[in-house]
C-alpha cells in the first residue's frame, strides 16, 4: 500500500545490534526490509538521500501525559502524537491520569482508537494501578492489557499504600507488565513546590526533600524483591535514588528507571525569579544530582530517558509559583536537549543516547520498535545532529507551550520521522536553522 522508502547514505545507528556505519535502509510493507551499503531500490520506491544525517530507530518515550480525555484544550492523543513525531518519537506511552482516569478496558481502548485514528506516532496506553487512581482498589490489569495497555501506573499520584504497591507488583506478574511508580512519600512532599534547599529557602517556597523520593524508591525496590514483580521507577531526580537503584540491580532485583531531559540538565536555580516553567514534580534538584543522573544513565543504572511530557494551558502557568501546576512539555525538545547536554557534553556517545531513548525503553516496556533488525516495524527517525536550532515554543506541534527551554539553541533534531514505513513528520524549512557562514 505504502511506497517502499530507501534511505540512502545515512549514518545508520542501530543500538540494538551495535551497528554504526554508513549504509542504506530500506523500508517496505511497514517493516525494515534491508540494511546495508549500496542497496538497490525496488520498483516504485521513494529514494531519499540522507547523507550527513543519522538514521536510527524511532525514539520511544515511556512517560507522557496526553490529557485526552478531559483536557483536550491542553493536548489530545492526536496532537501529542504529532508532537512526538516532531521530536523523533515513533512510540509513546500515555499515562492514565486523564479525566476520567484510564482505569478500565473501555478507557484503554479509547486511547488505542484515538491513536490509530491519528495515524502518527504510536500511542500505547498505560492503565491505572488503582480504580480512579484513588490508591485503594486494584484496577482490572488483565482487561486493560487485553485492550492494549502496556504497563500500569498511578503516575501523578504516588502509590502511597505499601500494601497496594505490593499487590500491584504481584498481580502484574501474571501479565508481565511493569508497574511504573511516581516515587514520592506524600507526607514529606505535601505542599512542596520545588526542591528543598537553599534556593527554596531564599524564595520562601516550601521544599520537597530528596528523601521524599528516595524513601519510596527504597520501598519499591524492597517490594519488587519481595514479590518478584517488575517495578519501573519514573523520573528519577536525586543522586540518592541512583545509588539505591545501583545496589538493587547488583542484587538482581527487577527494577528499571527513567530520567527526564530536564532533570539531566537543569537545577533548582531555574526556579529563580519564580519561573513557573521550572516547576515540576519531582522538582529540579542540585548540580550533584544532575551529575549523578548523567553518570547513572551512562552506566545503565538508569535505563532510559523519558520526557514526562506534561502539557498545561498557558494561563495555568501564568500564576504565582505556589499556585501553578507542576510539569512541562518535553516531546519536541527531548532529543535536542539530551544530545546537546549529554553527547556534546561528553557524557554519552550518540549510539548510547539513542539506545537510552529507543532500544532500551522499548525493551523495558516490551514494545515493538527500537531496532532496525530485519522484519522489525519500520519505526525510524532521521536525525540532524549538526545544525543548531532554536527552541520556539510557538512552533510546537503540541497544543501547549510550557517549556523552560524556549529560546535555547540546541543541536539534535528530527529531520524525518517514519512510523510503519510512512512519513509522519518532516522538518519544515521554516524551522531549519540559518546556514552557517
Amino acid at each position: 500500500m505504502t511506497r517502499p522508502i530507501l534511505l540512502r547514505n545515512g549514518r545508520v545507528i542501530d543500538p540494538s545490534r551495535g551497528l554504526d556505519q554508513t549504509a542504506d535502509v530500506l523500508l517496505a510493507d511497514g517493516k525494515i526490509a534491508a540494511v546495508g551499503p549500496g542497496l538497490g531500490a525496488p520498483d516504485g520506491a521513494e529514494i531519499r538521500d540522507v547523507r550527513g544525517l543519522v538514521v536510527a530507530p524511532g525514539l520511544v518515550d515511556v512517560h507522557v501525559h496526553l490529557r485526552e480525555p478531559g483536557n483536550e484544550d491542553e493536548e489530545t492523543v492526536a496532537s501529542g502524537a504529532r508532537a512526538a513525531a516532531a521530536g523523533g518519537f515513533t512510540a509513546v506511552c500515555a499515562m492514565p491520569n486523564t479525566d476520567p482516569v484510564t482505569d478500565n478496558q473501555a478507557a484503554v481502548g479509547f486511547i488505542v482508537r484515538q491513536s490509530v485514528r491519528a495515524g502518527l506516532a504510536r500511542v500505547y496506553p498505560i492503565g491505572a494501578v488503582s480504580v480512579g487512581q484513588k490508591g485503594e482498589r486494584l484496577a482490572e490489569f488483565g482487561e486493560m492489557v487485553g485492550a492494549g495497555a502496556v504497563a500500569v501506573s498511578d503516575d501523578g499520584k504516588p502509590v502511597a499504600s505499601g500494601h497496594l504497591m505490593r499487590t500491584a507488583l504481584e498481580y502484574a506478574r501474571t501479565f508481565n507488565i511493569p508497574v511504573a511508580d511516581h516515587c514520592e512519600e506524600p507526607t514529606l512532599a505535601a505542599g512542596g513546590a520545588m526542591h528543598e534547599g537553599l534556593v527554596a529557602t531564599r524564595l520562601g517556597l516550601k521544599g520537597i526533600p530528596a528523601a521524599a523520593e528516595e524513601i519510596m524508591v527504597a520501598r519499591d525496590i524492597l517490594l519488587a524483591e519481595h514479590t518478584g514483580g517488575h517495578v519501573h521507577l519514573c523520573h528519577m531526580s536525586t543522586r540518592g535514588s541512583v545509588e539505591l537503584i545501583r545496589r538493587a540491580k547488583e542484587r538482581g532485583i527487577r527494577v528499571t528507571a527513567e530520567v527526564t531531559p530536564h532533570h539531566l540538565t537543569l537545577t533548582d536555580a531555574a526556579c529563580e525569579q519564580y519561573d513557573t516553567h521550572a516547576k515540576m514534580n519531582p522538582p529540579l534538584r542540585e548540580p550533584a544530582d544532575v551529575t549523578a543522573l548523567g553518570r547513572g544513565l551512562r552506566e545503565g543504572v538508569i535505563d532510559c530517558i523519558a520526557s514526562d511530557h506534561a502539557p498545561h494551558a498557558y494561563d495555568e502557568k501564568e500564576a504565582a509559583f505556589d499556585e501553578a501546576p507542576f510539569g512541562i512539555v518535553g516531546l519536541e525538545t527531548a532529543f535536542g536537549v539530551a544530545y546537546t547536554a549529554l553527547v556534546q557534553g561528553g557524557v554519552l556517545t550518540l549510539p548510547q543516547l539513542l539506545a537510552r531513548m529507543s532500544a532500551v525503553p522499548a525493551e523495558v516496556f516490551h514494545l515493538p520498535g527500537g531496532t532496525l533488525a530485519l522484519g522489525a516495524v519500520a519505526d525510524v527517525c532521521v536525525f540532524d545532529v549538526t545544525a543548531p536550532w532554536v527552541v520556539r515554543s510557538a512552533d510546537f506541534q503540541s497544543k501547549s507551550r510550557n517549556t523552560p527551554f524556549a529560546g535555547r539553541e540546541l543541536v539534535g533534531q528530527a529531520a524525518v520521522t517514519l512510523v510503519a514505513g510512512r512519513v509522519v513528520h518532516e522538518r519544515q524549512p521554516s524551522s531549519r536553522p540559518p546556514q552557517p557562514h
Partner: protein, 320 residues
C-alpha cells in the same frame, strides 16, 4: 519612570546597601510629619494607590494607609474577601482591572511567595510588597532596621538574632538580607523544625538554645509563633515552646548588658515572649510601629520618583 529604587519594592534581597541606606535616610525627615498637629504633606498629591490585601492584616495595612494619606495620595483598600477575588478572579486579572482604572501604585499582600514580583512584572504601576507568602516583607525589615539604628546609632557590626519560626517567616528573610547588607551580624534561634534548610549557607549563625542567643546578641527580634504551626506538628505544644524558647525576664537577667527587644507583632504574650519583656524598658516594639509609617512614607516617596535630597523640602512645603 525609574526611581532610585527601581520600579518595584519586592524584597531587600534585591536592593543594594546604598538603596537601603537611602530609604532609611529618607525616612528620617518623614518621622516628624507624624508628630505634627496636621499630619499631611503634599508629596504624593494626585497619586492613586491601591492597597490590595489578599491576606488579613491590621498593622501593615493601616500603616501603609497612614503613610499614603500623610503624603496626600488617594487610596483605595481592596480586601480579598468581599471582592472579585473571592469570586475566583486571578491575581493578574485583578491587577489588570485595577490598572485599567489608571492607578499609580499597588501595595500588595498575598499568601503566595513571589506574588509581588509576579504582579510587578505584569503591570506598569509601581508595586510594593507588603508581605508575600514566606518570601519577604521588605518594609517590615526596613522599619526594624530603622529602629535598631535609632536605638544603637548604627547597624554595622550589631549582633541581631531572629528568634522563633524562621521557616515560615517573611519578616525573617527581609531582616536577614537587609541587616547583612548593612554590616550587621545575623543569627537565628529556634527549634530545628522551624529553621529552613540551608540557612547557614546564607551566612547566618544558628543557635540551638535561646540562652546562647541571648548571651551573643545585642538585639533580639522575636518572631510571632503562628499558632497553626503547632497543629501541623512542628512543635509539640505552646507550653513547651515557651519553656524552651520563650524570651523571659529570667533568661535576659542572666546577661549583664541590656538587649534591645523587638517584635514585628502581633504578639502571642506568654508564648514567644514574656509580657514583662514586651512591656519592659528595653522593648522597642511600639517604636517599630511608629517607624513603620515613616519608612513606608519614604518608600512611597522614592518609588514615586521623589528625589531623596528634596524629602525635607517636600514635607516642608505642605502641612500648616
Amino acid at each position: 519612570m525609574t526611581s532610585a529604587l527601581g520600579k518595584d519594592l519586592v524584597g531587600l534581597e534585591y536592593l543594594t546597601a546604598d538603596q537601603i541606606r537611602l530609604i532609611l535616610d529618607t525616612a528620617e525627615p518623614f518621622k516628624e510629619v507624624s508628630e505634627r498637629p496636621i499630619k499631611k504633606v503634599p508629596a504624593l498629591r494626585g497619586k492613586t494607590i491601591v492597597n490590595l490585601f489578599f491576606e488579613a492584616s491590621t498593622r501593615t495595612r493601616i500603616s501603609f494607609e497612614f503613610a499614603e494619606k500623610r503624603l496626600s495620595a488617594d487610596t483605595v483598600n481592596v480586601a480579598a474577601s468581599g471582592s472579585s477575588v473571592s469570586k475566583g478572579e486571578t491575581l493578574v486579572d485583578t491587577a489588570k482591572n485595577l490598572e485599567a482604572m489608571r492607578i499609580d501604585m499597588v501595595v500588595i499582600r498575598h499568601g503566595a511567595s513571589g506574588a509581588a514580583r509576579f504582579l510587578g512584572e505584569r503591570i506598569r504601576s509601581n508595586v510594593i510588597n507588603a508581605g508575600d507568602g514566606k518570601h519577604e516583607h521588605p518594609t517590615q525589615g526596613l522599619l526594624d532596621m530603622l529602629t535598631i539604628r535609632d536605638k544603637l546609632g548604627t547597624i554595622d557590626g550589631v549582633k541581631v538574632c531572629l528568634v522563633g519560626d524562621i521557616l515560615h517567616s517573611r519578616v525573617a528573610r527581609s531582616n536577614l538580607w537587609g541587616l547583612s547588607k548593612l554590616g550587621a551580624q545575623v543569627a537565628v534561634c529556634g527549634p530545628r523544625t522551624l529553621l529552613p534548610r540551608g540557612i547557614e549557607d546564607l551566612g547566618v549563625t544558628v543557635f540551638a538554645r535561646i540562652e546562647e542567643a541571648i548571651e551573643w546578641a545585642d538585639v533580639l527580634n522575636v518572631l510571632r509563633l503562628q499558632l497553626e504551626r503547632m497543629e501541623r506538628g512542628f512543635i509539640p505544644s505552646l507550653r513547651e515552646y515557651y519553656r524552651v524558647f520563650g524570651v523571659t525576664v529570667e533568661r535576659l537577667a542572666k546577661v549583664q548588658r541590656p538587649l534591645v527587644i523587638m517584635h514585628p507583632g502581633p504578639m502571642n504574650r506568654g508564648v514567644e515572649i514574656d509580657s514583662r519583656v514586651a512591656d519592659g524598658p528595653h522593648s522597642m516594639i511600639l517604636d517599630q510601629v511608629t517607624n513603620g509609617v515613616a519608612v513606608r512614607m519614604a518608600v512611597l516617596y522614592l518609588l514615586a520618583g521623589g528625589r531623596p535630597e528634596l524629602a525635607d523640602a517636600a514635607k516642608g512645603a505642605g502641612g500648616e
